[in-house]
C-alpha cells in the first residue's frame, strides 16, 4: 500500500507540502527560543529527506515552499517577504541554492542507481536465457536429431536394412520421442510454476500406491537400475495432490536413473513420523517423509546447494539435462507446503528427503463393513 501511495504524483506533492508545513508550524511554536538559522537547517533536512523518497518536481516544490516559509515566518520582520539585514538575504539565497542542489543531486544519483540496477537485471536475465537456450537446445534437438536420423536411414532406398536394424531404429525413435515428451512436460510444468498457476488439489492419497504406480511407469527408464521400495506397513493416508506427488517422484527417480551409472540401486522409502511440539505438549506434528536415495557418485560438494536452482547444470556434467527437473520438484513440493533437502551420503550417492506435515488418516480408523 505504501508503495502505491508514493507512486501517485498528487500524493507526492501533498507529502512535500505537508512535511514543510508541519515542520514550519512546529518551529513556529518555539520560534522565540531557537535561532532562525537552526530553523533553516531543519528545513534543509526536510528537503533532503524528501529528495530521497520523492520525484524531482515535488521536491522542488518543497524547496520553494520552505524558502518562502523561512523568509515569511522566521526572518525578521515577520510576516513580510521583506528582509532587513543584508546577511539574511544572503542566508536565504544560500538556503535556496543548497536545497535545490540537494534535490537535483539526490535525484540524479537515484536515477543512475536505477539505471545500473536495470542493466544488472538485464545482464543476469541474458545469462539465464543463454544457459536455458544452451541446455534446452541440446535437450530438445538431440532427440529430434535422433528421430530424423533414424527415419532417414529407414527411408534410404539404396540400402537394404536387416529386420534387426530396422527394429533398432524404431526403438531409437521411440526412446527419443519419450525423452522429448519428458522435456516438453517439464517446460510446461515450469511455466505453470512461473505463472503461479499451481493450485494443489489436496485429497487423501495412498502414498505407497503413488510410489509403485510411478515406478511402474518408469520401468523402461530404470531397467538398468535396481529399485528397492520400502513403505511403512499401515502408512496412513495423507492429504496431498496426487498429480503433483506423481510428478515429484517421477522427476526424482528419473533424475537418479539418468545421472547414475548402470547397476546403481535406487531406494525409495516412505514413512510416517510424529514430532512432538515441545512448546505446547499437546499438538503432535504428523509428517509423511519420503526419501529417495542412490548409491551413485552423489552431487559435487561445492555446488550441491544449487541443485534445485532453475537451469542450473553441474560443471563437468556428462549426462546433460535442462536443469528443470529438480527445480520443478522443489516448486511442487513447496506448493504443497512441504520441504525438500538434498545431501550426499557418507559412502557416496545422493539422498533426497521430502517431508510433508499434512493431515493424515489412519487406515484402521475406517469401518470395514
Amino acid at each position: 500500500m505504501d508503495k502505491l501511495f508514493f507512486k501517485s504524483t498528487k500524493n507526492q506533492y501533498l507529502i512535500s507540502f505537508l512535511s514543510v508545513a508541519i515542520v514550519s508550524l512546529l518551529c513556529l511554536i518555539v520560534r522565540d527560543v531557537i535561532d532562525y538559522k537552526i530553523v533553516g537547517y531543519l528545513l534543509l533536512v526536510v528537503v533532503s529527506l524528501l529528495a530521497i523518497f520523492l520525484e524531482i518536481k515535488p521536491v522542488l516544490l518543497g524547496a520553494v515552499l520552505s524558502a518562502l516559509a523561512l523568509n515569511f515566518v522566521f526572518i525578521k520582520p515577520y510576516y513580510t517577504l521583506h528582509i532587513d539585514k543584508p546577511e539574511d538575504i544572503l542566508l536565504l539565497a544560500l538556503y535556496f541554492i543548497i536545497a535545490l542542489i540537494n534535490a537535483v543531486l539526490t535525484n540524479n544519483f537515484r536515477r543512475m542507481q536505477r539505471a545500473i540496477q536495470i542493466k544488472q537485471t538485464r545482464a543476469s536475465t541474458l545469462k539465464l536465457y543463454n544457459t536455458l537456450l544452451d541446455s534446452l537446445s541440446h535437450e530438445l534437438r538431440t532427440p529430434i536429431a535422433a528421430i530424423l536420423g533414424s527415419i532417414d536411414t529407414l527411408q534410404q532406398k539404396d540400402v537394404k536394412l536387416t529386420l534387426e536394424t530396422q527394429q533398432k531404429l524404431h526403438n531409437e525413435i521411440e526412446k527419443a520421442s519419450m525423452k522429448l515428451n519428458y522435456q516438453v512436460e517439464n517446460l510446461l510444468n515450469m511455466s505453470r510454476l512461473e505463472s503461479g498457476y499451481i493450485y494443489p488439489k489436496s485429497d487423501w492419497c495412498d502414498v505407497k500406491e503413488i510410489i509403485y504406480n510411478t515406478c511402474n511407469r518408469l520401468s523402461e527408464e530404470t531397467k538398468d537400475h535396481k529399485i528397492i521400495i520400502s513403505v511403512d506397513e499401515n502408512l496412513p493416508l495423507f492429504k496431498l495432490d496426487y498429480g503433483l506427488m506423481e510428478q515429484i517422484i517421477y522427476n526424482l527417480v528419473y533424475n537418479c536413473s539418468q545421472h547414475t551409472p548402470k547397476g546403481v540401486t535406487i531406494s525409495i522409502n516412505a514413512k510416517y513420523e510424529v514430532d512432538a511440539d515441545y512448546d505446547s505438549h499437546i499438538d503432535l506434528i504428523k509428517k509423511c517423509v519420503i526419501t529417495i536415495s542412490d548409491n551413485g557418485y552423489g552431487f559435487p560438494a561445492a555446488e550441491i546447494d544449487r541443485a534445485f536452482d532453475k537451469f542450473h547444470r553441474f560443471k563437468d556434467s556428462k549426462t546433460g539435462g535442462t536443469g528443470l527437473g529438480l527445480s520443478i520438484v522443489k516448486g511442487f513440493v513447496e506448493a504443497q507446503n512441504g520441504t525438500i533437502t538434498l545431501q550426499n551420503a557418507e559412502d557416496g550417492g545422493a539422498i533426497f528427503e521430502l517431508s510433508f506435515a499434512v493431515d493424515c488418516l489412519s487406515i484402521n480408523s475406517l469401518p470395514n463393513e
Binding site: K201, D206, E209, L237, G243, L361, I363, N368, E369
Partner: protein, 228 residues
C-alpha cells in the same frame, strides 16, 4: 476382424487425422472425419458411427459443449483425445458422458485397446451371470468371487465395489461416481474410503497388489477395471 465398425474422428489437426486414418484403417475400421464441432455433429447425425473420437480443443466450439450436445441423442461410445490433461477437464468430460479419455501424446496400441473395450461394451450388454478375469471368476447371482476355484472372502462393500468396476470393464469411473454408487450421495467427497477399499481389494484379487493388473488407478481421476 473388426466387423466393419465405423469410427468418426472429430479433430482439427491434420496430422492427427492422418495418423488415425492410417492406424485405424490398418485395423479394418471405417473412418470418417470432421474438422470442427459443427461438422462433427452433422456427420454423427447423418452416419450414425459406432464410436466417436473427439478432440476437446476444437476451433469453433468448446469440446465439452460439443460433447454435451452429442450426448443429447448419441448413445454409442465417445472417447476423448485431448492435449488438455488437467484432472478437472478429464473429470468434467467423463461427467458429460464421455466413455474414456486419452491424453495426447498417446500410444496407438493403447488407443486401439480402448476402442476395442468401448465397442465391446456397446455390443455385449452385460447381463451374464458370471464373468472371469485372470484366474478369477465372479458370480453375480450368488455374489461369490473365486480365484483358482477357491472362494475369496469379501466384505459386502468390497464385493459391491468389485462388481461395479467389473460391470464397467474398461471404463474409467470417477471417484465421485464410485463413492455415490457404493456409499451414497453424502459420501461423494470421502475419497479416503475408496483408497482404503481399493487397497484391500487389490490385496485379495491381484497377484501382486503393488503392480495391479485389474484395478488400474487413473491418477487424480478415478479407477478403471481391466479384465483383459
Amino acid at each position: 476382424m473388426n466387423n466393419g465398425f465405423t469410427i468418426l474422428v472429430i479433430d482439427d489437426e491434420a496430422q492427427i487425422r492422418k495418423l488415425l486414418e492410417i492406424s485405424l484403417e490398418a485395423n479394418e475400421y471405417k473412418v470418417l472425419f470432421a474438422i470442427n464441432g459443427k461438422d462433427g455433429i452433422t456427420t454423427a447425425a447423418s452416419h450414425q458411427p459406432d464410436l466417436i473420437l473427439l478432440d476437446l480443443g476444437l476451433p469453433d466450439e468448446d469440446g465439452q459443449s460439443i460433447l454435451k450436445k452429442l450426448r443429447e441423442w448419441f448413445v454409442n461410445p465417445i472417447i476423448i483425445l485431448s492435449v488438455k490433461s488437467t484432472e478437472e477437464e478429464i473429470v468434467k468430460a467423463l461427467d458429460n458422458g464421455a466413455n474414456d479419455y486419452l491424453t495426447k501424446p498417446f500410444r496407438t496400441q493403447e488407443l486401439l485397446a480402448r476402442i476395442r473395450t468401448a465397442l465391446r461394451s456397446k455390443t455385449s450388454v452385460n447381463n451374464e451371470m458370471t464373468l472371469s478375469f485372470g484366474n478369477c471368476t465372479i458370480d453375480f447371482a450368488s455374489r461369490i468371487v473365486k480365484a483358482n476355484n477357491e472362494i475369496i472372502k469379501l466384505t459386502a462393500t468390497e464385493y459391491n465395489l468389485l462388481a461395479l468396476l467389473i460391470k464397467n470393464d474398461g471404463r474409467v469411473l470417477t471417484h465421485q461416481y464410485i463413492l455415490k454408487e457404493i456409499w451414497g450421495q453424502s459420501y461423494s467427497e470421502q475419497t479416503q474410503y475408496l483408497r482404503v477399499f481399493v487397497a484391500q481389494l487389490r490385496k485379495k484379487i491381484e497377484e501382486d497388489a503393488n503392480h495391479p493388473k485389474f484395478i488400474i488407478t487413473e491418477s487424480g481421476v478415478g479407477y478403471r477395471f481391466n479384465s483383459s
